[in-house]
Amino acid sequence: MLNPDVVGRTYKGANSFTVSQESITNFALAIGEPNTSVAPPTFSISISLTESQALLQESGLDWTRVVHGDQRFEIYRPLVAGDSIICSSTIESARVMAGNEIVTVRSDLHSGNELLISSWSTLVVRA
């Protein structure tokens, strides 16, 4: 069970990291997308889920029972190779429905002061 105190807590990645052309190309190849000049619309999940996984595990959530319920992206500007990104993740809500715990995590990807992508992942922790 998730500690209710974590709702609203934001974890800001301590270090920025640089989006590589290789990571964009590999992702594009894996989904058959020929254009590798910008990241595909769902590329940022590879960054945000890693970040929120760490946050959720620290918060006491059993990752082995997690199923992805839904996903949303707002893209203000697509990622490109060379972007220096800081990801901050916030647990926006946690509730229990039919015995399953439902957690929504928001991840914001910034480059400097510019917000490039916000995404929301709803995770269902099976009872």
């Binding site: 190849l29 894996a30 989904i31 595909p40 619309p41 590879s46 839904d70 992206f73 697509p78």
Partner: protein, 132 residues
């Protein structure tokens, strides 16, 4: 290309197989064995290996990018993972994507997406917004 509310956009079929799931796992970092290891998937009560929900969504994203005329034009994209895409060994599973224009607001085109696999909708409430 101009879009009008109610336009039904050309459907496209994508193929999903085990090799593609491995490539997606490596590219995305999601190495959950339910997407690669049949014995493991069955041990946790699944019928067989299932595709990452985010792989199905990524293919839908590729479809939206094609409709938009480029990934850089996609502004919003959301979906609910309603049914798993089961991927037996040695088989190409067909994922059929189609879209209908739900709104045109200035230079923003909103579409509702339908993703069908084995005659079942695998994404719910799937929507995207892209720039005309």
């Amino acid at each position: 290309m101009s879009f009008q509310v109610g336009d039904e956009l050309a459907a496209k079929t994508f193929l999903i197989n085990r090799a593609k799931l491995v490539a997606y796992a490596n590219a995305s970092g999601d190495q959950n064995p339910i997407h690669q290891d049949e014995d493991f998937a069955k041990s946790v009560g699944l019928e067989n290996v299932i595709a990452h929900g985010m792989f199905t969504m990524a293919l839908a994203g590729r479809y939206v990018s094609e409709l938009a005329g480029g990934s850089e034009k996609v502004r919003e994209f959301s979906a609910r993972f309603t049914k798993p895409v089961v991927v037996p060994a040695g088989i190409d599973v067909e994922l059929i994507l189609s879209a209908k224009v739900s709104a045109v607001e200035g230079n923003q085109i909103k579409v509702d997406l339908i993703a069908i696999c084995d005659e079942v909708k695998v994404l719910g409430m799937a929507k995207a917004t892209f720039l005309a």
